[in-house]
Structures are given as structure tokens and as C-alpha cells.
Amino acid sequence: MGKHVLLVEDEMNIVEAIRFLLSREGWQVDTHSDGTSALDVIRARKPDLVVLDVMLPGKSGFDILEELRGSDETADLPVLMLTARGQSRDREMAEKAGVSRFMTKPFSNTEVLTAVRDLLYVHGQRT
């Protein structure tokens, strides 16, 4: 059964790379590039995992994460956050907001795959 992953990212080349990696594993990958409407898309599509960029046009990844955690429906939704800013303060903010996994760009493909796999299966078993 193909897991459903929603990728929220505005850099098209990065979207292309991650989509390639995850699709190859057999997961269904949807993409979205706007921050403002991201929340609605997540609620509508109910993915098993969200890969979330921090610097999005319209709304930052932190704000989206906070709102996800604030709602019962999405409180436990696994979220893998990616950021290019790479400051320790960002990691703290993300963890405070309830991120499931936090990764700094540029990443290695293996790391991303491992993280997504962990979140999809370990997290899924727990819930």
C-alpha cells in the first residue's frame, strides 16, 4: 500500500529531487509550493506525512506547523521539516512547535529517505 506524502516546498528543483526520491520508494507524492494555502491542502488531502519547508511564500513553515499541532485532526501528523537557514535557533523553534523530524539543507538523499521511512512506519505503528 502506497503511503501518501505531501511535499510543501517552493524551490522547484528541490521539489523535483525529493519527488524523484520518494516516488521511487513507492510512495504517493503530492506537491504544493505556497505557504498560505498549505494548511487547507493538508486538511483536504490527509497525507501520512508532510515534508515542510520553512521559508515559504505567504506563510512560514513554523506557523503552519503550529497550526497543525493546534488542531486535533492533525496533532499527531508526522512532519519532516527542511530548512536552508541552518541556525540552531531554527531547530529549537521547530522542536518547540512540535516537529517530528528536522533537517538542514543540503541533505543527503539517504538521510531523507531514512527519515521519511521512520516517520511513516515507526510513527504509524505507534498511533
Binding site: 524551490e11 543540503p106 541533505f107
Partner: protein, 897 residues
């Protein structure tokens, strides 16, 4: 019978004699000779005899004839002071010497913080109080002249001539006083010549009175026993004693003895040696006793022998005259003349010192504003002021004498004067014994006492209806019953003199004490108070500046400590040489001490230097001038403190500036963090794609050639993006730091725009239609053409990238308002929302950069370049699309060929 002319001649001769004596004494004193005589306790004691004026010489007999033994109170008061209150005198003398006091006004004002107001009040009170007394002397001399001329009977035909003589006597006295009192200006106001003259006069008046007495007892009555029998038989023997009057008069005499300006002059100012007081304490009462010895016999015999209606005030003169003893009468006249003249001279001298020092000089200095620095000038002014004061005071006395008409009995005038100056007593004694006494208290006490004295004694003395109306006497001032001048507060039945003395001094003392208790002394006043009250602890031995060689050594040691050994030795050796002495130890003369003090003051400050020298030389305790110097130094301290405060203010200002700078730094630091974060993002983003796709290419088997090519292309594009970003960052950094060197060239605007358009068309795939009017573009520019071209390329590529129109167009318009060159780039897109227009020139602000191809540095670079070129670039509003205007200053436009 001697004529008036003879008398005048004798008087003149006598005055000439006194003048000679005074002159010789002065000269001897200046040459340092005859010190044994000039500074002897005998002369000191005799000089005190100016207490015995014509009032005591003539008036005592009259007093006895009218009021019996009551005249004794006038002698009793001073005797009690000399014998019983010598410790008060000693304290006064010590204070006077150690503080270089010049008068009683000076004493009181010094004590109360050098208050000039107080000095003026005391001076004026003294002048008012003593003027009747001077008048009294003139009156007695004039009267004695007329009696002499009339052969023992007052009110003769020669009265007019005697009156005229009175005027010339006043003139003569004034001249004598001016000549001797103001010949030179001594620091300590001492007048040796005058003192000697006074002493001679004291001897003359004593001998005269004793001679008349002896003549009366042995020549007329026929022996001591017969005289006593006559006294017993007379009314005088059974005179009743009024206790309150006795006590009151004795007290007033004692107080006046201490407070009279002339007594203060001879007793304190002219005192050379404190030990003289010891001898005077018995010698002066002895003198007074001798003076009073024959008063009663003369009075009794005079009443017996002379016709009824004879003025008993002049029995001393009229008795010998009536017996044909012209020689004795002449001696008696000279005695009275001596009494009068010595009193007038010394009193006038003392008063003129007060007037010139406390009234004229302050006014003069105030008017001069800094004239005090011209010392020679001021000395001249002081002497002139003193001479004028003398003339004025004697003139006042003469006028008073003319107005009062010489009607009152001598003793009455004397008592008024005594009671007036006695008002100084509370302030003076309080000042030297009570540290709590304040200047305000002294002023209030003096004011009240003086007012009461004027109201109850001076004004009534002119008689009812003269100065005060009859109704005032009967029903009180303004009809208030308890303000009757001779029955204050409704207390009646007291003798008027006792009444006046009692109330004036009681209210004076009460006001002084009460106000002192409720007011606080000024700092200087407090210092002076402590100095005065503890004068014996402060001053040690009164040696003045007389010092021994041992002190020179001490001074040397002290000076070495401050100036260093070599400088001190040089100073002392020079001083010794100047004195004509060998070696290093000069005589510690006043001159040397002053010089030394100046030298030391340069190192340790004036007040400290003086205090140090005083410690070694002793004697001179801290004087008013010293205290003023201390006050000056305090003022300097205050100034330092002010400076410190200013410094402190400056520091807090600096601290505020530092805080501000720190805040700015913090802000900059935050900006730097944000910038780094942005750079990190901009670098990591292409890096992420590059890394992801390179890993895909490496790790993925079986990728089709299409995919391989696509992914390799992405890596390529991102690498270029990364390179451009780094180029832009470095470019911006150089521009922002101002390190850029402009390469000024001349070229045509149209060529620059052609180049920019061509470059943009090559680099970017997206086509855009350009609309230009080449004719307008034919402008010659002189500027950095490469940089300007960079700006144009940036703006054109921005339009290519972000113009949202389906058929993108870019209009390039050139205009030349007022010589400047404007180049507008206007596209047909949707424009930039107003809220973004301000921030779009900032770094990393990508407005609508959805394709991720720019780092948001382009406009920031454009802005920096235009700033360097002296122009600017800004968003042009109101065109519909996105529009930028580049402005070049007129100076860069070269006139078209």
C-alpha cells in the same frame, strides 16, 4: 583777674606743649626709643583716665552738691570693673590683640561674622551716643572760660566772647585730632603720641584737682578735722541714699567703662601688653579715688562760701577765683581743659576710625568696584575719610552744644551718653562668652535697646514739649498708656534714669538672647564665635610677631618639608642677607614672615600657610582675614566640586551615548544575523538541488539519457546561480564599503542602453519587447559607464523576469529636466504593491521571485551603484506597470555635440 585773652593764650600754649609731647613721643616710638616709658603700665593706666572727663572734673562736685555721695557711683562702676571684672578686660584685650580689632564696632562685627551691617549700626549708635558727650566737653570748657572771665560768676557780660571761644576750641580740638590721629595709618590703629598726650593731661588734671582740694581743705577750711565738721554740718551729710539709683548708676558706669568707644580705644586697641592690666587693675581705681577724694569738701565749702545761685558744677574753678587764687584757678582751668580735650580727642579718634572703616570705606570700595587693588590710593582715601569723620564728629558735638544751649547739668548729659553706649554690653559680653550668640540676635538686641534708650532717655532729655510732646509724657506714645517714656509698661515711681537703663538693657538683653536662641549663626560667625569665646585656648601667649631665633629654626624645618631643602635654604639665606645677617637664619620679622607665607601659600594655599606659620610663631590666631581666606579656599573647593559635578554630568552623557551606540551595535548585530541567515538560505538552496541531483546521478542505476541530461542541466543552472550570487555578494560588499574605484569615461547613453538590452536578451530566455526612442537617447555622459550599464542590465533583466504580462513590454524613456538625465524603465506588468516598494531595494527582498532565480540583491546593488555615481534609482509610481527611474546629475551630462 585774668582776661579771656590770657586764658586763651595759656590754653594755646598748653595745647602746643601737648603737641610737642605727642610729637616727641611719636618720633621716639618710631625710632624704638623710650619704649620703657611709652609702653609702660603707668602710661597705660594714665591713659585710662580719659574716663574722667570734664564731667568728672567739674561735674562731680556739682553732682555732690546736688545729690550727695551719689557721684561716687560714677567712680565705683569702673573701679569694680577693674578690680572685680579684670578677667573680662583681659579677655577683651586678648581678643582685641589677637584679632587686630580696631574699635568696638569692629569687635562686634568681627565676632558676628564680619557683619558690616552690624558694624554700621554700632558705629551710628556710638556716634549718636557720644555726640552729647562731646558737646558736654565743649560746654564745660566754654563755661569755664566765661566763669574765669567773669571772676567766678557764671553768666557775665563776657559770655558772648566765651561762646566764640567755644567755636575756636572746637576747631582747635579738631585740628589737634586730625594732626595726631591721622598722621599715619597704622595697621593696628595705635597712636602712641596721642596716648602720651592723654597721659600728660591725666597728670595735669589730677594735680589740679588735688591742688584745689588741698587749698580748700587746708587753705580755706583750716584742716581735715574742720572740713569734716563742716561736712557733717551741711545738708550733704544727711543726704539719703536711693538704693535703686545707686545700683543703677554704678551698673551704667561700669557698662559705659567697658563700652565707650574711647575707653575701648585706650584699654584694648592701645594696649601693648596684657600685663599692664594687672597694674592698672589697682592703679586706676587708686587714680579714681584720688580724683574723688576732695569732691565732697569742695562741694561743701563751695556751697558755704559762694553766693547762692552759683553753678556748683564749676566750684572747682570758682572757689579759687573767689579767694583771689588766680594761679590755682588757672591750674584748675587747665585741669578741666585737659579733661575735656583728652576726651574729645580720643573719642573722636575712636569714632572716626569706626566711621571711616565701617561706613565710608565699604561705600567707597563698593563704588570703586575693585579699587581696593590700588593700595596706595586706598590708603589716601582712608586718611581722608578719617579726617573728614573727625571734623564731622566734632562739628556734630558743637552743633548739639549750640542747640541744647548748655542748659542741662553736666552729669545729666553724661548719664544719657553712658546709658546709650551701655547698649553695646549684651552683644559684646555675649559675643565673647557665649558661642550661641548670633549676629541677628545682636542686631535685634542693639536695635531694641537703642530705640528704648532714645525714647525713654535721649528724647525726654530735651524736656517735655521739645522732642516729645507733653501728651506723650502724660498719656504715652499714640495715647497708649504703657508707652509713656518715663513709665514704660505702666511701671511708675522709678527714677527716670534708672527706669531708662533698666528697660533699655533688659529688653536689649532679652531680645539678644531670645533671637540668638532661635537663629542659626553663619559659618563664618560660628568660626569667629569659637575664636572669641575660646580666645585663651587659641592664642596661647600674646607675643605678636616677636619671635626668637629658635622659631627661625622651626620655620626653616617646616619650610624644608614643604619646599624642599635647597629651595628653603635659598629662601632663608636670601632673607638673612637682606637683613644683613650671615648664615641661614634670618630674624623672623613681620616682613620675612609675610614673604615666607607667600612662598608657602604657593605650595599649600594661603590659609594653610598662615595657619602653619601661626602655629610656630604663635600669637596671631586666625584673624578675620584668615577666615576670609579660608572661605575663599572653600569657595575654590566649591568650584572644584562644581567642576566634578560637570564632569559627572559629562560622564553620564557619555554613558548615554555609549548605551545608544551599544543599542545601535545590537541592532547591527541583529541585522548581521538576519543577513547571515539570508545568505545561508540563498547558498544552501542551490546547493541542496546540486547535492540531491548529483547523488541521484551517482546512486541511481538505469536512469534514462533524458533524465540524466535533465538532472545534469539542473545542477549546471544551480551552479551558475550560486556563482552569480557570490558575485553579487562580493560586488555589494565592495560597493557598501565604499572601496569601489570609479572608472570615469565619456560615452553616449544610447550605446549604453543598446549594450544592456543586448546583454539581457542573450542571458535570459524570456523574450520581452523593447520600446525605445533613440533620438532622446543621444546624450553624452561622463561617468563610470560600466557601472551604469550594470544598473541598466539589472533593471532590464528584472523586467524580463518579473513582468507578469502575457506580451511583456519594456518602455525605456529618457528626459532632460533642468539638465539632469532621467532614464525610466516601465514595463506593462501588474506593478509592485505599495507596501513592498520601500523594502524592495533592501538585500534579499525578492518581490514576486517565484522561480527562485534571483537572490534579491540586484536592486540593492543598483541603489549602491547609483549612490556612488552621485545619482539615484527609485520606484516610479503611477505608470500602471513596474517602473524604475534612474537619475543622473546634470554634471554628468556632457553638452551634446
Amino acid at each position: 583777674m585774668a582776661s579771656l585773652n590770657v586764658l586763651v593764650a595759656v590754653s594755646l600754649a598748653y595745647v602746643a606743649l601737648l603737641f610737642g609731647v605727642a610729637f616727641l613721643a611719636e618720633r621716639a616710638g618710631m625710632r624704638g626709643r623710650a619704649g620703657w616709658l611709652l609702653r609702660s603700665p603707668l602710661v597705660y593706666t594714665l591713659s585710662l583716665s580719659i574716663y574722667c572727663t570734664a564731667w568728672t572734673f567739674y561735674g562731680a562736685v556739682g553732682y555732690a552738691a546736688r545729690s550727695g555721695l551719689e557721684y561716687v557711683t560714677i567712680y565705683l562702676g569702673p573701679s569694680l570693673v577693674m578690680v572685680g571684672w579684670w578677667w573680662v578686660l583681659r579677655r577683651l584685650v586678648r581678643i582685641g590683640r589677637s584679632h587686630k580689632v580696631t574699635s568696638i564696632a569692629d569687635l562686634i562685627s568681627s565676632r558676628y561674622g564680619k557683619s558690616n551691617g552690624l558694624a554700621i549700626v554700632v558705629t551710628l549708635m556710638a556716634v549718636i551716643g557720644v555726640t552729647p558727650y562731646i558737646a558736654l566737653q565743649l560746654q564745660s570748657v566754654t563755661a569755664s572760660l566765661s566763669i574765669f572771665a567773669a571772676g567766678g560768676l557764671a553768666g557775665s557780660s563776657d559770655d558772648g566772647a566765651a561762646q566764640a571761644a567755644g567755636f575756636w576750641i572746637a576747631v582747635g580740638l579738631a585740628l589737634f585730632t586730625v594732626l595726631f590721629g591721622t598722621r599715619n595709618l597704622n595697621v593696628n590703629e595705635r597712636q602712641h603720641g596721642v596716648v602720651i598726650a592723654v597721659a600728660v593731661e591725666a597728670v595735669v588734671k589730677l594735680i589740679a584737682l588735688l591742688a584745689v582740694g588741698a587749698f580748700v581743705v587746708w587753705g580755706i577750711a583750716g584742716g581735715v578735722a574742720e572740713t569734716l565738721a563742716r561736712i557733717d554740718a551741711s545738708d550733704l551729710g544727711i543726704w539719703e541714699m536711693d538704693g535703686s539709683r545707686w545700683a543703677g548708676l554704678t551698673f551704667v558706669s561700669a557698662a559705659a567703662f567697658l563700652c565707650l568707644p574711647r575707653m575701648f580705644q585706650v584699654m584694648v586697641v592701645e594696649n601693648d601688653d596684657e600685663r599692664h592690666l594687672q597694674i592698672a587693675s589697682w592703679a586706676f581705681p587708686l587714680y579714681l579715688m584720688l580724683m574723688s577724694l576732695f569732691v565732697v569738701p569742695i562741694a561743701v565749702i563751695g556751697l558755704d562760701l559762694l553766693p547762692a545761685g552759683s553753678n556748683p558744677d564749676f566750684f572747682v574753678l570758682s572757689l579759687p577765683l573767689s579767694q583771689g587764687q588766680d594761679g590755682l584757678a588757672m591750674l584748675s582751668f587747665l585741669g578741666g581743659f585737659s579733661s575735656a580735650t583728652s576726651m574729645v580727642i580720643v573719642a573722636t579718634l575712636a569714632l572716626s576710625t569706626m566711621v571711616s572703616n565701617h561706613v565710608v570705606m565699604p561705600v567707597f570700595l563698593h563704588l570703586q568696584q575693585g579699587g581696593a587693588t590700588q593700595s596706595g590710593d586706598v590708603r589716601h582715601v582712608v586718611i581722608m575719610a578719617r579726617r573728614l569723620s573727625i571734623l564731622t564728629i566734632i562739628a556734630l558735638g558743637y552743633i548739639y552744644y549750640q542747640i541744647s544751649g548748655g542748659s542741662s547739668a553736666l552729669a545729666a548729659i553724661g548719664l544719657i551718653s553712658f546709658a546709650g553706649v551701655a547698649q553695646f554690653l549684651p552683644a559684646m559680653l555675649g559675643g565673647i562668652f557665649w558661642r550661641g550668640a548670633t549676629g541677628v540676635g545682636a542686631l535685634v538686641g542693639l536695635g531694641i535697646g537703642f530705640a528704648v534708650w532714645v525714647f525713654t532717655m535721649l528724647l525726654p532729655s530735651f524736656g517735655p514739649g521739645a522732642a516729645l510732646s507733653v501728651s506723650t509724657f502724660e498719656t504715652g506714645l499714640w495715647g497708649i498708656g504703657w508707652l509713656r517714656p518715663q513709665a514704660l509698661f505702666g511701671i511708675e515711681g522709678l527714677d527716670p534714669t534708672v527706669h531708662a537703663v533698666f528697660w533699655s538693657l533688659l529688653l536689649n538683653a532679652a531680645g539678644f538672647v531670645l533671637v540668638s536662641l532661635v537663629t542659626f549663626p553663619q559659618p563664618l560667625e560660628r568660626l569667629q564665635g569659637a575664636q572669641f569665646v575660646n580666645v585663651f585656648e587659641h592664642s596661647g601667649q600674646t607675643r605678636g610677631w616677636q619671635a626668637s631665633v629658635a622659631e627661625s629654626e622651626d620655620l626653616m624645618i617646616m619650610t624644608q618639608r614643604i619646599l624642599g631643602a635647597r629651595e628653603a635654604q635659598r629662601l632663608f639665606q636670601m632673607a638673612a642677607e637682606a637683613q644683613g645677617r650671615a648664615g641661614y637664619l634670618p630674624e623672623p620679622t613681620a616682613v620675612f614672615l609675610q614673604q615666607l607665607e607667600r612662598e608657602l601659600a604657593g605650595s599649600v594655599g594661603g590659609a594653610t600657610a598662615h595657619a602653619m606659620i601661626s602655629q610656630i610663631v604663635g600669637g596671631a590666631a586666625v584673624s578675620v582675614q584668615d577666615l576670609l581666606a579660608v572661605a575663599d579656599e572653600s569657595a575654590q573647593m566649591l568650584e572644584y566640586s562644581n567642576q566634578l559635578e560637570a564632569k559627572s554630568r559629562e560622564l553620564s552623557r557619555t554613558a548615554a551615548q555609549l548605551r545608544e551606540a551599544n543599542n545601535k551595535l545590537m541592532m547591527l548585530s541583529d541585522q548581521k544575523d538576519a543577513f547571515l541567515s539570508q545568505i545561508s538560505h540563498e547558498l544552501r538552496t542551490p546547493m541542496t538541488s546540486i547535492r540531491a541531483f548529483s547523488e541521484i546521478l551517482r546512486d541511481t542505476d538505469g536512469l534514462g539519457p533524458m533524465e540524466k541530461s535533465k538532472y545534469a542541466n539542473i545542477i549546471h543552472v544551480e551552479a551558475i546561480r550560486l556563482t552569480r550570487l557570490l558575485d553579487d555578494l562580493l560586488d555589494l560588499s565592495v560597493l557598501e564599503n565604499g572601496q569601489v574605484t570609479l572608472n570615469q569615461q565619456t560615452g553616449r547613453l544610447v550605446d549604453l542602453l543598446d549594450h544592456a538590452v543586448a546583454t539581457a536578451e542573450v542571458s535570459e530566455a524570456r523574450p520581452i519587447t523593447f520600446r525605445r526612442r533613440r533620438l532622446e537617447e543621444t546624450v553624452m555622459l561622463h561617468t563610470d559607464l560600466d557601472r551604469l550599464s550594470q544598473v541598466f542590465i539589472n533593471l532590464i533583466t528584472n523586467a524580463q523576469k518579473y513582468c507578469g504580462s502575457d506580451a511583456p513590454e519594456l518602455r525605456i524613456e529618457v528626459s532632460r529636466p533642468e539638465g539632469a538625465v532621467l532614464v525610466d524603465f516601465i514595463d506593462n506588468g501588474s506593478g509592485i504593491p505599495p507596501e513592498s516598494r520601500d523594502v524592495m531595494f533592501e538585500k534579499f527582498n525578492r518581490i514576486g521571485a517565484e522561480d527562485g532565480s534571483g537572490a534579491g540583491l540586484g536592486l540593492a546593488i543598483c541603489r549602491e551603484i547609483m549612490a556612488r555615481l552621485g545619482g539615484d534609482v527609485r520606484y516610479l509610481e503611477g505608470t500602471g506597470g513596474t517602473a524604475f527611474r534612474v537619475t543622473l546629475p546634470q554634471s554628468q551630462a556632457v553638452a551634446a555635440q
